[in-house]
């Protein structure tokens, strides 16, 4: 505490004391304000958690209450029967998982060529990718649906995955990261006679692990959370992902509050856990994109 104001003149004890207590008071106010803001932001999530464990009678009482009076696991049991929930879960894992893995692979290959290799046409390809970054993807929805429908891929998970096997933002993001890497390692390997494929696999990819992790979470959460694309691609619950499936179910059974909240909670959990585990590098990744 006494270190808080090292410049205070010895002897002016009362003044120093007052300075410290004002500062302490300020920090208490700041902490309280911060926690109130944080809890307010989390209100829908907190309410979701409490409601998922409340019996239906407690949910519909008036006036509504936040904290549960009774505790039940019934909604978590029912959700697997009333909705093809296991199926939705599997579809979502397959969709988000496959898109993440394939896209990381293809994005990094393209980014390697654009950042580390000299060739004719490089600028044109890069400008093309920048232009794609500026265009809203919604414009592709109708023709894409039409195309996949004509080859029988609508209502299937592969049909959802295929158009997303690469991503213009992913290529751009990794290119920026690769550009900043030093040349020395690569040059040494080239002198030793290593081919480009080996350099990409054994030198560049291992160094790029933090960037790949950040981009991986971007891809995973974007596709896990996406609503519009899976909604268009699935005409029934069996082929939908979690967001599309829950939205479709809500459209038909709006009053099953507890069940919907239990399902929603289970659907949000993987992304939240994934995020909390690699939060630090994820936030750092956003920060660097923002500065460039």
């Amino acid at each position: 505490m006494s270190a808080a104001n090292p410049t205070a003149v010895p002897g002016s004890r009362t003044r120093r004391h007052r300075v410290i207590s004002t500062r302490t008071l300020l920090s208490i106010v700041t902490t309280v304000a911060g926690i109130v803001i944080g809890l307010a932001m989390l209100l829908p999530v907190i309410w979701m958690v409490f409601t998922a464990f409340k019996p239906e009678n407690d949910i519909v009482t008036f006036p509504p209450e936040l904290l549960p009076r009774h505790f039940t696991l019934q909604h978590f049991i029912d959700v697997w029967d009333r909705i093809p929930f296991a199926r939705l879960y599997l579809n979502t894992i397959l969709f988000a998982g496959a898109v993440t893995v394939i896209s990381l692979f293809f994005d990094s290959m393209a980014a390697y060529a654009l950042a580390r290799l000299q060739f004719r046409g490089r600028e044109i390809v890069f400008v093309g990718i920048l232009i794609l970054l500026m265009l809203p993807f919604q414009v592709t929805l109708v023709p894409l649906y039409d195309m996949l429908n004509s080859i029988g891929l609508t209502n299937t998970v592969p049909g959802m995955i295929i158009p997303r096997m690469t991503n213009a933002f992913g290529i751009f993001f990794l290119r920026q990261f690769f550009l900043a890497l030093p040349n020395d390692l690569e040059e040494a390997a080239r002198i030793d006679g290593a081919g480009e494929w080996r350099i990409y696999r054994q030198i560049i990819l291992p160094i790029a692990k933090p960037a790949l992790l950040t981009l991986g979470l971007f891809h995973f959460q974007y596709n896990w959370n996406d609503l519009l694309w899976p909604l268009i691609m699935s005409s029934d619950l069996d082929n939908a992902t979690l967001p599309a499936g829950l939205a479709l179910f809500m459209g038909q059974h709006v009053v099953e509050y507890g069940l919907l909240m239990a399902g929603s909670l289970l659907a949000l959990l993987p992304v939240v856990i994934f995020f909390l585990v690699i939060q630090r590098s994820f936030v750092a990744g956003i920060a660097t994109t923002g500065i460039k």
Binding site: G34, P44, V45, W47, F106, A110, L144, M165, I171
Partner: protein
């Protein structure tokens, strides 16, 4: 070298051309035809665009989109800046607050919007009940009230993204050298003057980037609107993307929906060009 480079590019280029570039051009072609899934495409010239500009449903969606964007963008940016400044100081519990503000950005808007629509429900909704206590009463509930439905989905839009832009501002704040603030303090500048003359100008890069990103994202609003209001009541929350969805995938008017999507494309592209031009000019000036 050239051959190897193109081999590295091939998978991405094939996917981008087949599933992004080609569909965009195809949408342009379809917008000039009368096409639904059942009947083959018939060339109609600019009839869809003529119909579009005379269609009250289009102008309604356009107006809602503009109101949404003009309302949500500045509120999100200013809130993100205020929160970043608040979180840039040391205090107990800062990590929790930062995570709590950022969390809405990583959860599915389509899913969390289910919780929001229950919170705003006139019968069981906790937020509805609290709003009633402070005198803001809407009998049918905010989401069924033609005056309140759009502000309600806009509020959820701000709530969802503010943490993302806050992180960008935080990165900007942390890159400002401490001695600049110190120098201003020694010159007798108070907190507000330091903010106006030191912090804000040094954050202008972030402000520009964040504003354009927030604007472009808000022009594409869909998820929470689909879940909370489905475009209603009386189309009061129907945005351009909602209209594309309704015309394309509910009415199966593929030609007409493609025309609307091309209008959106041109709108967003022009804004992006403006952004690009602005950044180029700034780079010269500095």
């Amino acid at each position: 070298m050239t051959r190897t480079a193109w081999l590295f590019l091939t998978p991405s280029l094939v996917v981008l051309i087949a599933f992004t570039v080609y569909p965009m051009i195809q949408a342009g072609y379809l917008s000039l035809t009368n096409y639904n899934l059942i009947r083959a495409a018939q060339w109609v010239g600019f009839a869809n665009y003529r119909q579009l500009f005379a269609d009250p449903a289009f102008w309604n969606a356009f107006e809602n989109t503009v109101i949404y964007a003009v309302g949500v963008t500045p509120v999100t940016v200013v809130l993100a800046l205020l929160l970043a400044i608040f979180l840039n100081r040391q205090f107990v519990g800062r990590g929790f607050v930062r995570t709590a503000i950022f969390l809405p950005f990583i959860v599915s808007l389509g899913i969390i919007a289910i919780a929001w629509s229950f919170l705003l429900d006139p019968n069981i909704g906790l937020v509805s009940y609290w709003l009633g206590k402070v005198g803001l009463v809407s009998k049918q509930g905010l989401l069924s009230d033609p005056h309140w439905a759009l502000p309600a989905v806009m509020f959820v839009g701000v709530w969802k993204n503010v943490g993302f832009y806050m992180v960008m501002y935080l990165a900007g704040l942390q890159s400002i050298p401490g001695d600049l603030q110190e120098a201003a303090r020694l010159d007798g500048a108070n907190a507000w003057q330091r903010f106006r003359s030191v912090t804000l100008p040094l954050l202008s890069n972030q402000t520009m980037l964040v504003s354009v990103m927030a604007l472009i994202a808000s022009l594409q609003a869909f998820d929470q609107i689909y879940v909370m209001t489905h475009g209603g009541p009386f189309f009061r929350t129907e945005t351009l993307v909602m209209l594309i969805y309704r015309e394309g995938f509910q009415n199966l008017q593929f030609g007409y929906a493609s025309a609307i999507s091309w209008v959106l494309l041109i709108f967003v592209f022009l804004l992006s060009i403006l952004q690009f031009g602005y950044f180029q000019r700034r780079q010269v000036r500095y």
